[in-house]
């Protein structure tokens, strides 16, 4: 490797699948202004995609980036990002995942891979350090991601090989198809797997034998050890993530009354069901080994499970996280406790986003309950709540685009537009993407999810920590710290509108910095105000890369990225303020069936919170467009010109009409 490059591997690899050409550019052309990974990706996508490009067009690009700190033992430094023009929202698509693949990629000498064009037949890419080959993948086509991993480890003679691949869902351009790292750990949201499938690219395997150097190694290691000590102390107090992953929120989510039951009709599950499917007990019962990723200061959030009984006996897989439990198990009212494990494994094998499944099947089951659809629509399947076998059947039908599954594979919004009959109301989405996030009863979470530039999701601005003190051991300490970190007086008041816009802005910055550096959000102040904060991240960044920056400039990088994502969406879609709002159902229905019984969003207060959100971003509160001044201050004068040309530059307004 080139010796004067620190933390970065130094190269961006461009692989054109249409003509087989491979080129290397320097990461340093981008890294100063765009940090890394997802930041570099949005810059490339914005600059290089012409406005006429569509998601499945060979001219679309799939950008796979490893975080700046990946390759070092920095806390939580194990994330990769995949970004593209997405087939669900039609705008910016971006998804991150824990990754050993990224570690290998950096050691092979690359920070980012840009996939361009479309191969004439199924191919895979084998990156063995300097040696890069585009190889025939006919024999992999049609295989599950698990089969692909096994076959590629044999073919490339390496039992410890790491890959990213698509399953049948990606091959069949299922809109919510994802990209899987090894056997699990998905680049889950936004349909990046469908774009990979449209390029006829089945898999990428990588092996790296190089190394990564940091600029100021003594200082860097000193910070690392200090952070380790802090976590050692905090982990001793409690470390629920390590014990049960995000499933650890089960009791607190029930207590705060925000568990999705029957497609958001109810906000908690019945006690009897809770006893039966308690996911904590399931993990306890079937865990056989730990699973974690480089640097994780929580010592990992994964468990390998072996189901030795029940309808799915014989299955060995990594545990699912909370999202699967809430979005497939409780949303669909399934009674079998190991169903979440099975459904998660099946989604990973076939390469489909669990949230598309929850969204589309949840919508369909509610339509069935309300007699909007019947067996005539569903290929004879009875879509009753709790019908586990039917759900598994539908997952397969979606991934292979068969019958009713072909309609569901488009996601709940497009499916509801095919079915019509006023079924749209039950399709819970954001910018066309199926929504997993529970929007009533947690305002910072709701605001962050709905204003998200990638269409829903809770990792581009949503506030999670507001509900957490409920199950914290030293609650008072937590709140005190949270006030100073997030800069609001009421971080723990979930139902107060005040301060939430400010908290979302903090999270938007933090999430982007984390994604660029490749640091797992759970190791940072997203999940606990005592964890790694923005200054610690900045110190890690400066000592690792040798780039000097101030906290203000560091944060500005993230805001610049957010504005470019916004501009990218404005270029490719018609989104405006209305698309940043919660669904009609969430705006008008009171909560039913939970400890928040009867609580309802106050429309006026919600809109005021939105106004504040746009104001602090320097965006026009009428239409959400960035103003010229905002863009120029961020060094995006050319972007301001582009938006002016398409009539989407914002104005500063005093008052607006809703």
């Amino acid at each position: 490797m080139i010796k004067d490059i620190y933390a970065y591997a130094g190269n961006i690899l461009r692989i054109n699948l249409s003509d087989g050409k491979i080129r290397k550019d320097s990461t340093l052309d981008y890294s100063k202004e765009w940090l890394g990974s997802s930041g570099i990706a949005i810059k490339i996508l914005y600059d290089e995609l012409k406005p006429w490009v569509t998601p499945y067009d060979p001219a679309n690009k799939l950008i796979i980036g490893a975080g700046v700190l990946l390759g070092t033992p920095a806390p939580g430094a194990n994330k990769m990002n995949i970004s593209t023009l997405g087939p669900i929202t039609g705008g910016w698509a971006s998804s991150c995942s824990d990754s050993f693949f990224g570690l290998e990629l950096k050691y092979a000498g690359y920070d980012t891979i840009i996939i361009e064009g479309r191969a004439h037949h199924p191919v895979y890419i084998w990156i063995d350090n300097n040696n890069i080959e585009i190889r025939d993948a006919s024999h992999f086509w049609g295989k599950t991601t698990w089969e692909t991993l096994e076959m590629s480890r044999k073919e490339l003679r390496n039992p410890n090989l790491h890959i990213i691949s698509i399953g049948p869902a990606g091959e069949n351009l299922v809109r919510g198809a994802n990209i899987i790292q090894d056997r699990g750990r998905a680049f889950g949201r936004c349909g990046t797997g469908a774009v990979m499938g449209s390029k006829n690219l089945k898999m990428i395997a990588v092996k790296g034998s190089g190394s990564i150097k940091v600029a100021n190694e003594n200082k860097f290691m000193g910070i690392l050890l200090k952070i380790r000590e802090k976590f050692e102390r905090l982990n001793k107090l409690e470390n629920p993530m390590h014990e049960y992953g995000t499933l650890s929120v089960f009791y607190v989510k029930r207590k705060t009354g925000t568990v999705n039951y029957k497609n958001f009709q109810y906000y908690d599950i019945p006690d009897a069901l809770a006893m039966k499917i308690d996911p904590i007990k399931t993990i306890e019962k079937y865990k056989i080994a730990q699973h974690s990723f480089p640097g994780c200061a929580l010592n990992g959030c994964g468990k390998h499970l072996y189901l030795n009984e029940g309808p799915y006996a014989g299955l060995t897989t990594e545990n699912n996280q909370w999202e699967v439990f809430e979005n497939i198990q409780t949303r669909l009212a399934i009674q079998e406790p190991t169903f979440m494990v099975k459904a998660n494994a099946l989604c990973n094998q076939l390469g489909v986003d669990v949230d598309l499944i929850g969204g589309a099947v949840g919508w369909a089951m509610e339509c069935y309950q309300r007699n909007i659809i019947d067996q005539g629509d569903t290929d004879g399947l009875e879509l009753n709540w709790g019908n586990a076998e039917v759900v598994l059947e539908l997952i397969k039908k979606i991934c292979y685009r068969q019958g009713f599954g072909n309609i569901l594979s488009e996601g709940c919004v497009k499916a509801s537009s095919v079915i019509g009959r006023n079924s749209e109301y039950f399709a819970l989405h954001n910018k066309g993407q199926d929504l997993y996030e529970v929007c009533r009863g947690a305002l910072g979470w709701c605001l962050g999810a709905c204003t998200s530039t990638r269409g829903g999701g809770h990792t581009t601005g949503a506030v999670t920590c507001e509900a957490i003190p409920e199950n914290r051991k030293k609650k008072e300490n937590w709140i005190k710290k949270a006030k100073s970190v997030y800069g609001v007086y009421n971080p723990h008041m979930v139902l107060e509108y005040e301060g939430k816009a400010k908290m979302v802005l903090y999270m938007e910055i933090l999430h982007r910095i984390n994604n660029c550096l490749g640091v797992c959000h759970f190791n940072t102040t997203w999940s606990n105000p005592e964890y790694i904060d923005l200054s610690e991240l900045m110190n890690l960044y400066t000592t690792a890369t040798g780039n000097k920056t101030s906290l203000e400039d560091f944060k500005k990088n993230a805001i610049r990225q957010l504005n470019l994502e916004k501009a990218f969406n404005l270029k490719f879609t018609n989104y405006d303020r209305k698309d940043d709002m919660p669904n009609l159902r969430d705006m008008q229905e009171p909560i039913k069936g939970s400890s928040l019984e009867g609580w309802k969003i106050d429309k006026e207060k919600y809109n005021k919170m939105m106004d504040e959100y746009y104001e602090i971003h320097g965006w026009d509160k009428q239409n959400s467009f960035p103003t010229k001044k905002t863009l120029i201050d961020l060094g995006l004068a050319e972007v301001a010109e582009d938006l002016k040309r398409i009539g989407k530059i914002g104005k500063t307004r005093k008052k607006i009409k809703y």
């Binding site: 990564i212 056989i288 974690s292 994780c296």
Partner: protein
């Protein structure tokens, strides 16, 4: 020697800091620890390089520091501790 790990999550953090101990850079290549998948069963094994060969740098027990670097960074250090201290004892004898 290859050791079966009971509680190890396979995170490879020990691998990265060990290579740093030897070379001041992070890599798999120059680590005396290699984290491997167990064959045919979930979980991990650790290969400790005990003797010099062409490809690998052997463990020196981090002789210059009180707590070996790998142990300072492993959050599940029981197994690793046994391996490293067994090795250190054997080396001292």
């Amino acid at each position: 020697m290859v050791f079966d790990m009971l509680d190890c999550g396979g995170c490879k953090t020990c691998e990265l800091v060990c290579s740093f101990h030897h070379t001041k850079e992070f890599s798999h290549q120059f680590s005396s620890l290699k984290v491997l998948n167990k064959r045919n069963y979930p979980g991990y094994q650790i290969l400790l390089v005990e003797k010099e060969d062409k490809m690998n740098i052997p463990c020196d027990g981090c002789k210059d520091i009180e707590t070996p670097l790998c142990l300072q960074f492993c959050g599940k250090r029981d197994d690793l501790e046994k391996i490293i201290y067994r090795f250190k004892r054997a080396k001292l004898q």
